[in-house]
C-alpha cells in the first residue's frame, strides 16, 4: 500500500467563536485506497478533535456524509482520493445553513419531507392476519428507482432553484412523493397533491436537472418532477371535461 500526503482544505465554522466560516488546511498522510471520509476520520482521530461532520455507515448506504468536494456535491464515502490530485477543498452542502463545520441544518428538508406524506396510504387498512399487500414485479418496477433515495441531500445542494427560493419543496421530497404515488398499494395521491402540485412544489422546478446529475443512487428526481408535471397538467385539463372535478 502506498501513501501520499493530501492537502485537505476544510471549511470550518465554530458558532461559539467564529462570525463566519473559514478554510483550515490539514496535511493528511493518506493510503491509496482511502476515500475522503477516511481522510476526515484521520484528521478527527489524529490531528484535530474539534472538527465536526456527519457520517455513519462508510458504505454508501446511510446518506449521512454528503458534502461539497471540490465544488461538487458528493458522499465523502464514495469520493476516492485516487481521483483527486494533491489538494481537496471540502465544504458543507450548499443551500443549507451551517450548524458547525461540515454539519448543516436539515430541519427545512425534514419538514418538507413530512409534508408530502412519504408513506403508503392504503385504500383500506387491513389487519395483519389478512397477510401482506401483494405486488407484481412490474408494479414494483414502476416506483423502485425512486425508492432508492436515502435523503443524502446532494440534490438540494445542487439545485439552484432551492438555493434561490427556499420555499421550493425540492428534488428528494418530490421524488419520494412520486415514489408513493406510483406504488400500486397507495391511494394517497390526492392527499399529497396540495403540496406536490402547488406553486412551491413541482411548478417551482425549472428543470435544471442538476439534482439528477449528482444523485448517487440514480433516483433521477428531475425526471420524477417532470412526470408529475405531466400528470398534474392532465388532471387540470381533464377537470374541464364533463364530470371533471375542479
Amino acid at each position: 500500500m502506498s501513501q501520499r500526503t493530501m492537502e485537505l482544505e476544510v471549511m470550518r465554522y465554530r458558532p461559539e467563536m467564529d462570525d463566519k466560516p473559514f478554510f483550515q488546511t490539514y496535511s493528511v498522510p493518506c493510503e491509496e485506497e482511502w476515500v475522503v471520509l477516511d481522510a476526515l476520520n484521520y484528521v478527527k482521530d489524529e490531528m484535530d478533535r474539534t472538527l465536526s461532520y456527519r457520517w455513519s455507515c462508510h458504505m454508501f448506504v446511510c446518506g449521512s456524509c454528503g458534502m461539497v468536494i471540490n465544488g461538487e456535491p458528493k458522499l465523502a464515502c464514495k469520493a476516492f482520493l485516487r481521483d483527486y490530485d494533491g489538494k481537496i477543498r471540502i465544504e458543507p452542502l450548499h443551500n443549507f445553513p451551517i450548524e458547525r463545520d461540515l454539519v448543516i441544518v436539515q430541519d427545512d428538508f425534514i419538514e418538507k419531507l413530512e409534508s408530502v406524506k412519504p408513506y403508503i396510504i392504503p385504500k383500506q387498512e387491513k389487519p395483519l392476519s389478512e397477510g401482506e399487500y401483494l405486488q407484481t414485479p412490474a408494479q414494483l418496477k414502476a416506483y423502485k428507482q425512486y425508492s432508492m433515495c436515502m435523503n443524502c441531500l446532494l440534490c438540494y445542494s445542487a439545485c439552484p432553484q432551492y438555493g434561490l427560493e427556499e420555499k421550493f419543496v425540492g428534488p428528494a421530497a418530490l421524488a419520494l412523493a412520486h415514489r408513493y404515488n406510483m406504488d400500486s398499494r397507495d391511494v394517497g395521491r390526492s392527499a399529497r397533491e396540495h403540496v406536490v402540485a402547488s406553486h412551491d412544489g413541482i411548478w417551482a422546478c425549472s428543470f435544471v436537472g442538476a439534482c439528477s446529475q449528482v444523485c448517487p443512487k440514480d433516483v433521477d428526481p428531475a425526471g420524477a418532477i417532470q412526470q408529475v408535471k405531466f400528470s398534474s397538467a392532465v388532471d387540470y385539463l381533464t377537470s374541464f371535461l364533463p364530470g371533471g372535478k375542479r
Binding site: P97, K141, A210, Q227
Partner: protein, 130 residues
Amino acid sequence: MSRKPYHREMSKTTWFLKQSRYQHYMLHEISSIFVAIYVGVLIVGLFRLAQGPDAWAGWLAAVTSPIGVIFHIIVFIFAIIHTTSWFKAVPQAMRIQRGEEIVPGKLIIGAHYGVWAAVSVVVLLVAGVA
C-alpha cells in the same frame, strides 16, 4: 448552548456562472428566446403575405438580405441547441414502462430525431427545395 447557524446566500444574478451545468442550462433556456423571435418573424411574414404581393416581396427581401441571412444562421444555431438539449432530456420526462422493463432512453431520443428528420424532409419537399 444556543445555536447560531450560518446562512450563505446564493447570488441572484451570477449563480449560473458558478458551474458548467448551470451554464448549459442557461444556454438552452436562452435558446428559446431566439426560437420565439423567429416565430415572431414568421408571423410577421404571414401578415405581409395577407397584405399583398408588394408587402410580401418586401418581407422576402428583408429575410434574404445579408443581415437576414446572418440572422438566420444565428437563429439556426440556437434552434439546434434548443432542440438537441430538449431531446436529450426527453427520456426523463417520458418514462415508458413495458411490463417489467423501462424503454431505453436512447430509443426514445432516437425516435425523436427520426420524427424530426422526417418532418424536415416533408417541409423541404413542400417548399420545393428537395
